[in-house]
Symmetry: D2
Subunit: 288 residues, 4 copies
Amino acid sequence: MANSKWEYVKNFEQPDNLLPNTWIVVRLDGRGFTKFANKYAFEKPNDRAALDLMNEAAKLVMTDIPELIIAYGVSDEYSFVFHKTCNLFERREGKLVTTIVSTFTSYYIFLWSKYFPNKPLSPPLPSFDGRAVCYPSVSNLRDYMSWRQADCHINNLYNTTFWALILQGGMDNYQADQALLGTVSSQKNEILFSQFGINYNNEPEINKKGSVIFRDYELVEPGSHNAAAEAEDLAEPVPQSKTQAEKEKKKRAKAKVVIEHLDIIKDDFWDRRPWILSNKPGKTPKEG
Amino acid sequence: MANSKWEYVKNFEQPDNLLPNTWIVVRLDGRGFTKFANKYAFEKPNDRAALDLMNEAAKLVMTDIPELIIAYGVSDEYSFVFHKTCNLFERREGKLVTTIVSTFTSYYIFLWSKYFPNKPLSPPLPSFDGRAVCYPSVSNLRDYMSWRQADCHINNLYNTTFWALILQGGMDNYQADQALLGTVSSQKNEILFSQFGINYNNEPEINKKGSVIFRDYELVEPGSHNAAAEAEDLAEPVPQSKTQAEKEKKKRAKAKVVIEHLDIIKDDFWDRRPWILSNKPGKTPKEG
Amino acid sequence: MANSKWEYVKNFEQPDNLLPNTWIVVRLDGRGFTKFANKYAFEKPNDRAALDLMNEAAKLVMTDIPELIIAYGVSDEYSFVFHKTCNLFERREGKLVTTIVSTFTSYYIFLWSKYFPNKPLSPPLPSFDGRAVCYPSVSNLRDYMSWRQADCHINNLYNTTFWALILQGGMDNYQADQALLGTVSSQKNEILFSQFGINYNNEPEINKKGSVIFRDYELVEPGSHNAAAEAEDLAEPVPQSKTQAEKEKKKRAKAKVVIEHLDIIKDDFWDRRPWILSNKPGKTPKEG
Amino acid sequence: MANSKWEYVKNFEQPDNLLPNTWIVVRLDGRGFTKFANKYAFEKPNDRAALDLMNEAAKLVMTDIPELIIAYGVSDEYSFVFHKTCNLFERREGKLVTTIVSTFTSYYIFLWSKYFPNKPLSPPLPSFDGRAVCYPSVSNLRDYMSWRQADCHINNLYNTTFWALILQGGMDNYQADQALLGTVSSQKNEILFSQFGINYNNEPEINKKGSVIFRDYELVEPGSHNAAAEAEDLAEPVPQSKTQAEKEKKKRAKAKVVIEHLDIIKDDFWDRRPWILSNKPGKTPKEG
């Protein structure tokens, strides 16, 4: 080949396969979204159309990449989880992260006009960066998910109060910041209620809990499965029969991918949906 | 903080800063573009609109990220090069790669309708994966660029002949493959010329050479600069005065980003554009 | 400082902290030990003094580095295991591996004359290389240990038969190799027994099972502890009180480090010694 | 194989090949050598026997591993440099580092009794940790070497003055520390000269400059070679003829490995010994 004398440069590529038997979380974040939100006049503290756009893009990523078991989003960030037995792209970090980031970006731009019909995009366009993190145990993974959802709650309570002080209370940003300095949750709740008649508990679930996306099957009785233990048992690579694998793949493809706003910190969410951690498709729910 | 007990999961994030003083190449590739090209009936062997779309997206990436010094594209792949002194995102691999992949994807989707007004996109959408590779020396970097351009030439000569055999010669894919098995360049040139009256040399430069994108300044006399040596001398971090840095930044922002189809294997391209390897902006060319 | 202008070279050091919450195995191997064994006329197939030297060196490594929970050795290799909660050297791979390799080498050379009083060392001296591997789950770790012990068995059965054919059967290396080609375990057992009157089961345990080193406490009833599950529960960093940590440290320091030749593939070994996986010191055994 | 069901654990081993075309520095450091120096009553501020032992061990490492081009040592640390074209162990970091650390440790223990005949070693024994760092350019490598030698100078001047204040001036550690707080080089020189009649310039070169080890050939005229440029030209892998490689190997094996105490910061050292950076053996010097 004419290019053979240069081909040695391929040797500079470094392998980046992630440690086997660990849960892979790929989290993406909007780049410069504060500025971006201002440019397109996103509503404060939460712009519903912007959240719905994030969610639909994420749902389509989940649909395109069936190896994903769950995704969790809040604000301009989204976390996608690969099962610890996943071997997509031989677990090459770069491939996994860029595929998700690119697919998400693609849908985000494509769907923009559906959610913002009157706000055409113009350069510089929105974009996202991303990273992968490995978690060795179910506990670590669930703690990661809890961390993101707790963060959602903390930020949303702050932002709800902050923007109430500004939009309804007439403060400027500095004054609102000062008013909230050092306050704990109960005090923010109190400000919202006493000054603005807002009961934080009645705020939309999507704002308080963020969004969780997963394949939907029939819920099971809590306690009837031990998905975490089942998952740990998958430590060794158990060769699955091809028929079985094919059957599961079909079931997974048929399953409805849903967007919910549920508590994912407590056990209940996971106990009733053992298929998320076990990666074994559940029972397809009966249509109503 | 309420989420402090879960925050330990941040410790699982691994640093990924790339080795200092090395040229960083980020290459992205279309995912499943053979299928994608069929879906949108791209012309064979080269669809000019598809190439122009790649090029404009890449040009906008270069414009958005001034730390990039050059980009080279062919078919559904694009390589972007950061100067070896670049410290963007502290050289974190994940940030660099995902930012480029996401920005490129964003523009690709956004610009699609401009180049394919009659072919609206529908899911699954185009997406790209990417990776970063470090090259320690100017020679390595130039060998990388030469490798990609030589590959462009080899593939394009093959594809041009292959599709001539099919589209003009009436062969099917298998027959065309067989006809070309084991042929060298001169034989493919001969087939093109004797059977189809095609002089490969007259094929469009964009197909034969691919596309190179860079900031344009006034060309210098070859031999008047030694950019490679200058670049090696930048091994140590030389603290630049803020005024100087600011001045260069402005010059860079004013420079026109151009798309050309030039030979980047020979020295001439680099000798006449010393600013690419030295990262010192050249003289702004006079308008005609 | 006079050296400040060169200090930037420290930035080229790359972090190498191993993923938290994973079991770290450091395995070292003798470099060129076939040649080395010949130079010092090691007995075939197993030189007891050489094995005892390996074992004492490994035991002293275990004693010097209390963060190690178990070690397993066979022939010229030794595997040392850090508990998954271990934070020694902030889990920096280079520090962990080189410390173990260097400490082991140090004792090996130091103790040489004790085991080989009549064979003084001369350059080139024995040395060892090493590597670290992370295992996310107890199953993975136990499978690693089983793999090494199964390997010990396979190699020892082969070597025992091979050297019987040579030393007692009068074959040369090539003939012995040919005689064993394609034989399974039962056939090797049969050769040993019928041709040489050797019952493989009566071979020394150290040769058949290798050597396992651990801190010794009072054995517990199998089934009374679930160490593996306990270990999984340690996923989150549970801050231990200083008093408790100090107490455990003292207990660990007082514990006797023992070298045994036991089956570590079956559950029994682990069930009766829950302290190995739980990292909580057991009961100090009563002196006889 | 009986162990095949466990063999999957090998997949958890991560590749660690270092970036090609970069200079590899492996630096090792004594572990806890302050305490160790006290245990064996090393002379302050420099124990000549201890330095000579370090140097002989390092020289033997250089001799055993001909791929090393230079080594530099000071106090209880030693840096070993592989040429950037070196492909030993496929540039696997773990192999390179542990081999050097283990070989060095081996010689250190072995030679101990030669340098300290009256101070037999006893556990815990001396050991060393190590790490590898890659440097892309000759400038970076030389800056690394300069950094270490400048550090040697700074520390030695400090220690010489500190111990003069204690051993000759009758101060305790705290007083000596206080006396030197904030002093610059000239002030330490002044203290040495005026208070103790010590002219720092007359101190032994080994203390002021550290030790540099390399293969010795006939010195060349400065300016007659450009080794740095030659080294950069080796960016691409130039396949060497086997005869040529064999010839160079023999020359290298015949070359005398020397320990010197020279300035390696200035150009002169490198200019007169072009073989160090070019990796092409020089002319064997005539015997006197």
